[in-house]
């Protein structure tokens, strides 16, 4: 592709919009802009996933007032918020790991967070289903 030739990074270049970058973002060669932007959108999608889980937690906390016992509902809400916080952190580290792998033309790291999230949400679904069935 013709575009990729002039996308090669020039280390040490500083502009007003972009301050000094860490060394890991100056090693290797800058990936094709499509891959960089896809990585950025993936990061944003993970943040949105976390925010949707957070909104779900708030909705359970506010509107599932007839679900008993209340203590268990609150514990579930807190766990959902913590899961959302973990996903926000993982979003950043995954973006960084992908960026590093792409700069060195290595395979992208395996997304361990995907099975983790699936298992968490599956357990939560079973848990809430059981609570609703009992109540």
């Amino acid at each position: 592709m013709a575009v990729s030739a002039d996308i090669i990074d020039t280390p040490g270049v500083e502009t007003m919009q972009h301050g000094r970058r860490p060394s890991w973002q100056q090693e290797g060669t800058e990936p094709d802009y499509r891959f960089s932007l896809a990585n950025e959108r993936t990061y944003l999608a993970w943040i949105r996933t976390a925010l949707s889980i957070l909104a779900g937690a708030v909705l359970v906390h506010q509107f599932a007032s007839r679900l008993q016992p209340r203590g268990l509902v609150l514990a579930g809400t807190v766990l959902l918020c913590l899961l959302a916080a973990a996903l926000c952190g993982l979003a950043y580290f995954r973006w960084r790991a992908n960026e590093i792998a792409m700069r060195h033309a290595e395979p992208l790291p395996f997304p361990h967070v995907i099975p983790l999230l699936s298992v968490c949400l599956l357990m939560l679904g079973i848990f809430v289903g059981a609570m609703v069935a009992i109540a």
Binding site: V3, I7, D9, T10, V13, T15, Q17, H18, G19, R21, P22, Q25, E30, P31, Y33, R34, S36, L37, A38, N39, E40, R41, Y43, L44, A45, I47, R48, A50, L51, S52, L54, A55, A57, V58, L59, H61, Q62, R70, L74, T77, V78, C81, L82, A84, A85, A86, C88, G89, A91, Y92, W95, R96, E99
Partner: protein, 112 residues
């Protein structure tokens, strides 16, 4: 630099546009959360929750502003293309902090 015109790169995949839209979707997701907490704060008459809702609104505005700036830079053909790690780290930590505060808030509020 305003007024410094660079022709946009050839972009048949509309990469810049899709990235800007992803940023604004994320800002909207934060806005929804902010509204939920503002509603909770108003319903319970709790100042701390209202303040938290306002902080989330500010974070949503931050995401929106960053997305707009990013879009302008991309469409003007700014180099280098990858986002600044400080920006990505700051926004992710902001969102993570909001989730942790929400955990604390939901543990403390509405025990009855």
């Amino acid at each position: 630099m305003p007024g410094h015109q660079v022709p946009p790169p050839y972009d048949p995949g509309l990469q810049a546009e899709r990235t800007v839209l992803a940023w604004s979707r994320t800002a909207f997701a934060l806005l929804v959360n902010a509204i939920l907490w503002l509603r909770t704060g108003m319903a319970d008459g709790d100042r701390a929750l209202l303040l938290f809702g306002v902080a989330l609104l500010a974070l949503a505005a931050g995401f929106h502003f960053c997305g707009k700036r990013r879009g302008r830079a991309l469409m003007n053909g700014a180099r280098p293309i990858p986002a600044h790690p400080a920006l990505m780290g700051a926004l992710a930590s902001g969102a993570a902090l909001a989730c942790l505060l929400a955990a604390v808030a939901s543990a403390c509020v509405g025990k009855a």
